[in-house]
Symmetry: C2
Subunit: 342 residues, 2 copies
DNA sequence: TTTTAGCACTCTCCTTTTAAGACTGCTAAT
DNA sequence: ATTAGCAGTCTTAAAAGGAGAGTGCTAAAA
């Protein structure tokens, strides 16, 4: 863990870089922010931070910029309080005044996000999720391995082999099977996923099996997912400094036109049911290495049905972006529930 | 009109530029195409062509490139026979194998166009066109001016003042009104537009009034049009040489994200009911000055219901593009009629 | 009268040079 | 543990130079 001074230096470095888009030098840090340490001291600290992977030096005689790890640390531990501009709140609330069709509303939300932030707004179509669980079955392979077999109402069967750290008796398997089936039979896959993935669950189940089932469920949900997305404001992203290079733009546009890629990103957030953020390489799409993605879900009544998000450069104001996306998600859910809730 | 030699030189200049993307020099023309005239002669001819506005010289010591006027002349008078690659035909015919939903089919068509040509594919949603004519009325203002008043089934009233070159008697107005109303009452606006805009029509009607009615109809149709469009393959356009400049890309993307603009371009083609082509400034959208747009219509049975098109750089192979778009339009119409025709 | 050879001139584009400026890392002093 | 000072590195912008491509014009040839 970083000591206090390193944290301060990292935090200010990230903030300054987000603002200025210029590699941050020790001199700037000392002079602009009156930290009370000399440039030389700060230089030493920054060299340490670079060694530990939080900062990067574009070239020998340049200042430093945050690495993905640096941004991640910043987002996880150094963020100031969320700050919402009054106008952001106003814009989010304006959703309440739209009563166009379902599709039109979602499209409007994507446009709203992009207009207000000058980043890209994305919306995943509502997931139908009618598929329910038919049965969970186990086959004991001995040698502490077991096959999990899941059958769904749509007739799809999927299995997965799992290794156990502690062996289980015939009896225990039987109990677990009965318990799981009685509890989850005919329930929606998404609901089961959600219940199982909660930290606390009053069910005696080995962690490996639990994770195995979760994997299978995710797999099933993923292949049957609704892939439709709205992507709005692609042209807006070009005004940012990181996209002045034509080749970057090309590869970026390529990715953004692949609905499958965007929908799969949003789908992950949908399954996790919460505000999520991916930074640079965490997205696992090389073309989006300069971007961060913030997503959250929207729901109809009690049911999470889809997700929305924002794609922008890593160099974004996270406090504001996170708060804004979260707010939009909530407001959209309210509006949908109000319009269509039972 | 240009003499034979100028035509040949213009034609080859355009063709070579489309192929090479380099300003075409007199030397290239003489040497590569063995025209039998010396570079000096060709130089003189090219200077003439420039003076008449068919060619442009990027700078003093460069070859020449076609102006919009040059492209237009080429497309109107110098085109070789349409050439369809076998693969283009195959791709167009593949439409027949899609039987996904209506919307999916249209989206697929836009993608097909862009995939096959590496340009942008666009599709205008089907126009509902339920609006019919209620009444056409005239008010004689004397002094050879008359107000045309058109009322529609949706209750919209629109009028237009028209000047006449030959005055009409009270009697003639009455006859015309009766004739027009008996003939067009309760007919769809689009149908009336189409009938009236035909060259030959067995109806005694002053040209000014006819054009006035057409204007009003176009206006009515335009404001009530379905604005939805699909735009596919925006990223593909970036591989072309004319879009290597980041600022051009920005403005281009801006326009392409404006559905209203694209739909209005397509709507014009829809009203004209045929294969149309606009080159550069003819499009009247500064951001598309480097582009040409080829559009055609698609129909369900006898009824034209929408239009499709392609947006690419002016420097495109017109023979192929025109043929391809036309073919796609026809094939799509056949497929739609087969799927949904009554 | 039309065509062509020849040449001076122009403009682009690429490479090289030069210089200024921004920071760092390291050393030695505090 | 901190800091001043300085040599060294790298970027960036501007300037200079030179090759190459192509034209317009003139005067000669057809």
């Amino acid at each position: 863990m970083l000591d206090e001074r390193k944290k301060i230096i990292l935090k200010i470095t990230v903030k300054d870089y987000i603002e200025s888009a210029q590699p941050v030098s020790s001199r700037i840090l000392a002079k602009k922010y009156l930290l009370g340490w000399s440039p030389a001291t700060i230089r030493n600290e920054m060299a340490d931070l670079e060694e530990e992977g939080y900062l990067i030096q574009p070239h020998t005689s340049a200042g430093r910029i945050p690495s993905d790890r640096g941004y991640r640390f910043y987002v996880d531990f150094l963020l100031d309080n969320y700050e919402l501009y009054d106008e952001d709140i106003e814009v989010a609330n304006s959703i309440i005044f739209y009563s166009i069709d379902w599709e039109g509303l979602l499209r409007k939300v994507a446009e709203l996000i992009s207009e207000r932030t000058a980043f890209i707004g994305v919306v995943l179509f509502p997931q139908l999720d009618k598929t329910t669980l038919k049965k969970i079955e186990f086959i004991d392979l001995k040698e502490d391995a077991v096959v999990i077999i899941v059958t769904t109402s749509t007739g799809v069967v999927k299995e997965k082999i799992v290794r156990l750290s502690n062996s289980m008796s015939e009896e225990e398997f039987k109990d677990l099977r009965i318990e799981l089936n009685s509890r989850f039979e005919n329930r929606k896959l998404q609901e089961i996923y959600w219940t199982l993935s909660k930290e606390k669950i009053d069910l005696k189940i080995p962690i490996e099996i639990k994770n195995g089932i979760l994997d299978v469920l995710q797999d099933l949900l993923y292949t049957e997912r609704e892939e439709g997305v709205f992507v709005a404001g692609v042209s807006k992203i070009l005004q940012h400094l990181e996209f002045q290079n034509i080749n970057k733009v090309k590869t970026l546009l390529n990715v953004l036109e692949e609905e499958k890629i965007i929908s799969s990103l949003l789908f992950t957030s949908y399954l996790r049911k919460g505000l999520t953020i991916l930074i640079g390489e965490e997205i696992s799409i090389p073309e989006l290495n300069d971007c961060s993605i913030i997503t959250t879900v929207y729901s109809l009544g009690e049911n999470t049905i889809g997700s929305i998000g924002m794609i922008g450069p890593k160099r974004m104001k996270y406090e504001r972006s996170l708060a804004f996306v979260e707010l939009i998600g909530k407001t959209l859910s309210e509006r949908l529930t109000q319009l269509l809730g039972d």
